[in-house]
């Protein structure tokens, strides 16, 4: 095998997909290196799940090429299926079975053999803290337990590439942290992870690279730090009692955007104490009276608005 392809776990070129007249994926290109985490970030309906469905051989794309571990998903789906694992909103566990039976079923379908299968099932029950619940029907499990079992079922066959579709959606903070830790352990073992999420924090924490999907296009792609530089940061908002004060403040802060109706001024900020101090210093030097001061940090909506609206105008303030 040639080294350049063996280093790339997932390669997508010009992937397109429509459902009827609705274009869901409109020419996606991306590469995920082996042993790294790629997070696909996007709002509901951005096409994240469709992307995972195509990459995991569930459905086929309309155009473009997808290679998983060097195998074309359209031409060698079984070769792809042999190396991947999928855990997601659309993939499920059997509620009528116990946790152990679900795992045993997966072990049988991975053809592990009786004793090796039993050993692997016991290992995973232990690792995912499901030993006590192993004999209970999954229908009685909590959301977090279900998600753990789901991931354990995916790991039965030791997949080299794992797709996680919104792995922490609907989980409480503790379960979310546990899931993050598990993902970290998998990556430490050299597994490649492709995950989708709506949470900026999650992508920031886990991913080596992040792709932002919006309206079927990858509107930004890079390391978390690269992306943060692309995304306009938060701002400090100053409210004033009158138009005269606003005018003086606007002269004092060159790059700020003003709202004459609301009598507010928005000053770009990285959210740090230093930038706040600089603003306060300048207000004091100019003897400018401020009614109210507030910090605005960007949420995911702001990130999308800024990335999709005017990508070449970096000074544009969010909203």
């Amino acid at each position: 095998m040639n080294t350049s392809t063996s280093r790339i776990a997932i390669k997508v070129d010009g992937l397109r997909k429509s459902f009827g007249a609705q274009v869901v994926l409109d020419g996606i290109d991306l590469e995920v290196a082996e042993g790294t985490v790629f997070a696909l970030l996007g709002p509901n309906g951005a096409g994240k799940t469709t992307m995972v469905r195509i990459l995991s051989t569930l459905i086929s794309g309309d155009g473009g090429e997808v290679r998983i571990a060097g195998h074309d998903v359209a031409r060698e789906p079984d070769a792809v299926r042999a190396v991947i694992g999928v855990t997601g909103q659309f993939s499920a566990v059997d509620g009528l079975f116990t946790g152990e039976e679900n795992l045993r079923l997966m072990a049988d379908l991975r053809h592990l053999g009786k004793s090796a299968g039993r050993k692997r099932v016991d290992e995973l029950l232990e690792r995912f803290d499901l030993v006590d619940a192993a004999g209970k029907p999954v229908a009685t499990y909590s959301g977090g337990m279900r998600r753990r079992l789901d991931l354990a079922m995916t790991l039965i066959g030791d997949p080299r590439i794992i797709f996680l579709d919104e792995p922490t959606a609907g989980l409480d903070p503790r379960s979310r942290r546990a899931m993050w830790q598990t993902i970290g352990e998998l990556v430490a073992d050299g597994v490649t992870i492709f995950l989708t999420t709506q949470y900026l924090e999650e992508a920031d924490r886990l991913a080596h690279r992040i792709g932002v999907l919006d309206g079927g296009r990858l509107v930004a792609e890079g390391t978390p730090n690269e992306l943060k530089r692309l995304i306009p940061g938060g701002h400090i908002q100053l409210s004033f009692a009158g138009a005269a004060e606003l005018d003086r403040a606007a002269r004092a802060f060159g790059g700020a955007s003003r709202d004459d109706e609301a009598l507010t001024l928005q000053i770009p900020s990285d959210g740090g104490v230093g930038s706040l101090r600089a603003v306060l210093d300048r207000l004091e030097t100019g003897a400018i009276e401020v009614d109210e001061l507030s910090f605005q940090t960007p949420d995911l909506d702001d990130v999308f608005l800024s990335l999709t609206a005017a990508p070449d105008d970096r000074k544009v303030t969010v909203r």
Partner: protein, 263 residues
């Protein structure tokens, strides 16, 4: 390639899964066997006296009607199992269990095949229960073991065809509720056949339909094999229907299984 043993191994795994689900959810099997038993008792003890008197020129009574209706009840047992199969297939589809299987390197035929074989076994269990009840209330076959084996074989073949059809219906249904309603026509069809009254007693167009739908040759063949009435070409037609329904349903179900689940 080791494709053949894998298909066998995966199908066995899927069959074990479906049999375990049946054990976990026994009320379905009880219902599948229970409703034809209720029909049998209803038709023999409530309607049987009158319907028996109307059988043929010589007339008859409850005992004659019991002999007449048993083949129809056996076929309605097989048809009734379709509902349970369609429901469990639709559950697997809607809960995303098929989606998980489809991303795994397992023989695709095994997933639906496991449902079909499980469903045939479920039908056989129900048929055994119905047969025991029929014998207990006085049904006696006038033929011998060879004919009984042939009748059992035809019922298995019918169960196979109905199972593939119900797997396809379960795949086609958008919800579990639809999946439970779609196979209702299979339970109605035996009534519009020679199962409960001779087709000659029906009005023209209905009689024509009854004579040409699959259940009539199936019932006539089972009747011939159990009671020695003439079978004629009904046997060939019955087997032909089973093969045709199995084939068409298999192709349909496979296409639905391979199709984009989001479309």
């Amino acid at each position: 390639m080791t494709a053949y043993p894998l298909v066998v191994a995966d199908s066995a795994t899927m069959l074990r899964r479906n049999l375990r689900r049946m054990r976990r959810y026994p009320s379905l099997t009880v219902f599948i066997a229970g409703f034809p038993v209720v029909f049998l008792l209803l038709f023999v003890y409530v309607f049987g006296g009158t319907l028996g008197a109307g059988l043929g020129p010589s007339g008859g009574g409850r005992a004659e009607y019991l002999a007449y209706v048993v083949p129809g009840i056996l076929l309605i047992t097989v048809a009734g199992a379709a509902q349970g199969t369609a429901i469990s297939v639709a559950m697997d589809k809607n809960e995303g269990i098929f989606a998980r299987f489809r991303t795994m390197d397992i023989a695709r035929a095994s997933v639906l095949g496991g449902h079909v074989v499980g469903s045939v076994i479920q039908s056989m269990l129900a048929l055994a229960i119905v047969t025991v009840v029929a014998v207990l209330i006085g049904f006696r076959s006038t033929t011998g073991p060879v004919a009984w084996t042939a009748a059992a074989g035809l019922l298995v073949l019918t169960a196979f065809a109905v199972s593939w059809l119900s797997v396809a219906l379960g795949m086609a249904a958008q919800s579990v509720e639809t999946a439970s309603n779609l196979p209702m026509f299979l339970i109605l069809l035996p009534f519009l056949s020679s199962g409960f009254v001779p087709t000659e007693s029906m009005p023209g167009p209905l009689a024509w339909f009854a004579e040409h739908q699959p259940f009539t040759p199936l019932i006539e063949t089972v009747r011939g094999l159990l009671e020695g009435t003439p079978i004629g070409d009904d046997g060939v037609i019955a087997v032909g229907w089973c093969v045709a329904i199995s084939l068409v349903s298999y192709v349909w179900a496979r296409r639905l299984y391979d199709r984009d689940p989001a479309a």
